[in-house]
């Protein structure tokens, strides 16, 4: 399913944070707050251009739907990522055990092949 995520092409921008009156919706981390304020300012400009109540209402609905879809998939993928990280340690143990088993079988095969050759030689004598 395509989520329409933009490419992870990141640019760095130098911004100054003046004194702001943080409210309960603002992120606490400074870099996240600055990013949030850039997005917030852009969204206010978009909202001002929408002008009518109906148009704003449609925009509000659309952004809520988009956020819900992103939140769901982000949560799913983050959960999968955490499980994969946990599974990685188990994988390494299992891979080590299999590697050990294969080495053990190969060593026994080599010994038995040698013994079979000697038994055959003894029979031919």
């Amino acid at each position: 399913m395509s989520l329409g995520l933009p490419p992870a092409d990141v640019v760095e921008v130098e911004l100054q944070l003046a004194k702001v009156r943080r409210d309960e919706l603002a992120p606490e981390d400074d870099e996240t707050l600055l990013r949030y304020l850039v997005y917030l300012g852009a969204a206010y400009v978009e909202a001002d251009r929408a002008s009518t109540y109906d148009r704003l209402h449609r925009l509000f609905g659309a952004v809520g739907s988009r956020a819900a879809v992103l939140r769901f998939h982000y949560g799913e993928q983050a959960r999968g990522f955490a499980e994969e990280k946990r599974a990685h340690a188990a994988h390494e143990r299992m891979a080590g055990a299999y590697e050990g088993l294969v080495e053990k079988i190969e060593a026994e095969i080599a010994l038995r092949e040698e013994r079979v050759r000697k038994l055959e030689a003894a029979l031919e004598r």
Binding site: P7, A8, Y39, A43, R112
Partner: protein, 178 residues
Amino acid sequence: MIVRLLRADLDELARLELDPAEALRIGAEALGARPTRDRPRERAGTSEAADELRHLYAEAAADMRLLQFSFATKAGDYARSRARYDAVEGAMADLQKDVVPELRARLRALRAREQTLERRLAMRGVDAASIGPTIPAGMAVDTTLKPGEYDEPMLALRPLPPRRSLLERLVRSLSRRV
């Protein structure tokens, strides 16, 4: 302070004829002066409702874009992790399904051959136990057949019948009613 943004964010700002500093100034002005509720309370269609919606939309859009930033910058790691997980799982499944059973089958065949030769030597009065090399006691690999190593055919479901066309389904539904 250095702030990381998506290049797509800059494109979006350019579309709105904004640069990041100007957008930041507008956003910072609203902070602390906006309502912090998450649902509209004003009567729909009024100017108060439109103003309320303006703030609600701006907050929801900024929040969504923060989420989008996090997701977009981590999506690559998530995809790489998934690909690596699938590759390791696949390699281990191949080892379990093909490599180990084949080696164990080879070992079973060798042990059978050894026993045949030992019997034939014994019939000639030769003590095969004196012919080495030997596997130290308790070190031999267990070669009994494991689930999936037998030759019985795998159980498989019969293929589904071809899907009926809309017309056939309609005729069938009508004929049931008659």
